[in-house]
Symmetry: C2
Subunit: 341 residues, 2 copies
DNA sequence: CCACCTGTTTACAACGTTGGAACAACGTTG
DNA sequence: CAACGTTGTTCCAACGTTGTAAACAGGTGG
């Protein structure tokens, strides 16, 4: 094993506790002993055994981040930010992937009780709001996504309904009339799809335009591509499509371009997430850009509050900002500026 | 705090060790006590405190994965696989981001000694091979990337020289003569860039073609775009470019298309990594596809061997397979099949 | 010279777990 | 029936750390 406090104490000729005091910067240690101990410390290359410290203190300094899949760019980018912000609190981050499976989501939610992590940031897909609300475990929890029902956890998200309405309005404002929504999901699945659909509907209704939707199971490029193909085969194909995330939009763009249609001249496309791919696709992708750094900071800070503070506070719901990023996929070359939201 | 063995023992009317025996499936426990204990176990909802177990056993069941940045798709995809394979060994994965900074890489390499993780899978960029070799810590370590000098760690990688040669040969085989290499890096930085450059040179030399290179600092889309712009401004612009990774290639593609040139008619583009973006870009991206699932499995399995077995074995270097994925960015529409390598 | 501070150091216990030794109960064997 | 093995259970110690309380020095003030 490694070097323990005992080894250092022995070498320095002091008690174990004194070494511990030096390590932890306790005030009342004489200069003489301090230097003596510090010398022994560095001579042996002491490194605290955090397993032991954790056992003693009941804190691990590790949090878990549970999300559907790490290789979806949105989650990769968000994870990056969360790890960065967590590091500011000297936290390490364990990443768990649920693949959107109910069983895995339950496992993760339950596994948190093994005292390996101090808290959990969780982006649920399959698990029901009621099941979340019924959670008995008191490990700190912050959810990514808007609050559906009441529950014991804090929530962090953008205003999905408003964002969806904004981007749909943008499409309508371009003069498009057959605006489709791509990314609708079975409503039994909780999550953001129904919210984005609601925003789309509000905008369409406000202009008296007919709705048109395409369902998908998962938010991947492949599904965006096939759903777009279905829309193209429909009796009245759309002249604009709001895809519920950027991956769907990029898949849809592939299909549109592959059949020889032009974006945005024939079909305008917009997404949501502002993943980096969309800034380099041809054409570049108009999208809603959630402030991911802010989301990350909010999530970590809320978790910090839960972990440090009393857990009896009422759960909070905080909203992150977003911006509309107008790019070539809706307005063509010579892009206009980006307007904040 | 949570429920401890003591609580369960008290309820079941047995000793703490007996409960521990039941929990750990120890053989010699009478059926009567076993059921009694199991009932108490589930009644209280016991969950082992892994901090304590770790302290006792000296194993945490957690490994660390250190890589430059999680939001580079290649690393996101690889991380996904590594987390999945690690889960088969009941390991959790902590992800650390180094941003390619030397200081961060040292921190990570050093931080592993705090007994929080059983081992480390590390994708270094900045740190020198000599420094790695001089490591004294005996925590198990597996490196992602080819071995440069000798060192105490196992290595996992594809054969970068051969892969680079293969893809360059593919470009030459299309009849291109002004084939450029995009992604050259200052050789002080260790890593794969020099290997890929070597493979490119071998192929060009074999055909007596003149070399042409563009340097970048980091392997991002933005740098691919600007490096491509530089190549276009040169006296004899290339008719094909081998980009050292897919992100660079996608950035380069953006630049080529944005100035009104066609891919692949005017300039053929190829990358390396086979990230998902390249399968949906327009045109789709020809690339080298490392077998990421295999890479992940090799890395985790090697780490497992190190952790379980004696660490005195000589370090091993294993090579993962790769395939050449020929897509539209080099051969245009009506894609040919993909040939294995 | 004693009581009483102040500052520094130490002994002890505890966090929850598991390996090993010890022990008890039981049946088997010579 | 004594000696012995087998099976089931308990007791004790230890992993390395830190909080608490107590011990110890060295002054000060009465």
């Amino acid at each position: 094993m490694g070097v323990s406090l005992r080894d250092v104490a022995q070498l320095a000729g002091v008690s174990v506790k004194t070494v511990s005091n030096v390590v932890n910067g306790y005030a009342h240690v004489s200069a003489a002993t301090r230097t003596k101990v510090e010398q022994a410390l560095s001579q042996l290359g002491y490194q605290p055994n955090l397993s032991a410290r954790n056992l003693r203190l009941g804190r691990t300094g590790v949090i878990a981040l549970a999300l559907p899949e790490l290789d979806a760019p949105y989650f990769a980018e968000l994870s990056r930010s969360i790890i960065k912000v967590a590091a500011e609190h000297r936290w390490l981050v364990i990443i768990e992937q649920t693949d959107g499976s109910l069983a895995r989501e339950r496992e993760v939610l339950d596994g948190v009780r093994d005292h390996r992590v101090d808290g959990l940031i969780f982006s649920p897909i399959a698990i029901g709001a009621d099941e979340l609300a019924a959670r008995t475990d008191d490990t700190s929890l912050v959810l990514l996504g808007e609050r559906i029902y009441d529950g014991p956890a804090d929530h962090v998200a953008i205003d999905n309904v408003r964002a969806a309405r904004d981007i749909t309005e943008h499409l309508i404002g371009l003069g498009r009339r057959r605006v489709a929504a791509l990314g609708v999901q079975d409503s039994s699945v909780s999550g953001t799809a129904p919210l984005r659909l609601a925003g789309y509907r509000e905008a369409m209704a406000a202009h008296g335009l007919p709705e048109s939707t395409a369902e998908v199971e998962r938010y991947h490029r492949a599904e965006g591509a096939s759903a777009m193909a279905r829309l193209l085969r429909s009796p009245s194909p759309p002249d604009a499509v709001f895809c519920f995330n950027d991956l769907l939009a990029l898949g849809a763009m592939r299909t549109v371009l592959a059949v020889g249609l032009r974006v945005p001249e024939d079909i305008a496309l917009a997404g949501l997430d502002d993943i980096e791919d969309g800034r380099y696709s041809t054409p570049t992708l108009t999208t809603v850009a959630p402030d991911k750094a802010q989301l990350a900071r909010m999530a970590v800070d809320l978790l910090k509050l839960r972990i440090d503070g009393r857990s009896d506070r009422p759960p909070r719901e905080v909203r992150a900002d977003y911006r509309l990023m107008v790019r070539e996929s809706t307005v063509g070359r010579a892009p206009t500026g980006e307007r904040p939201s």
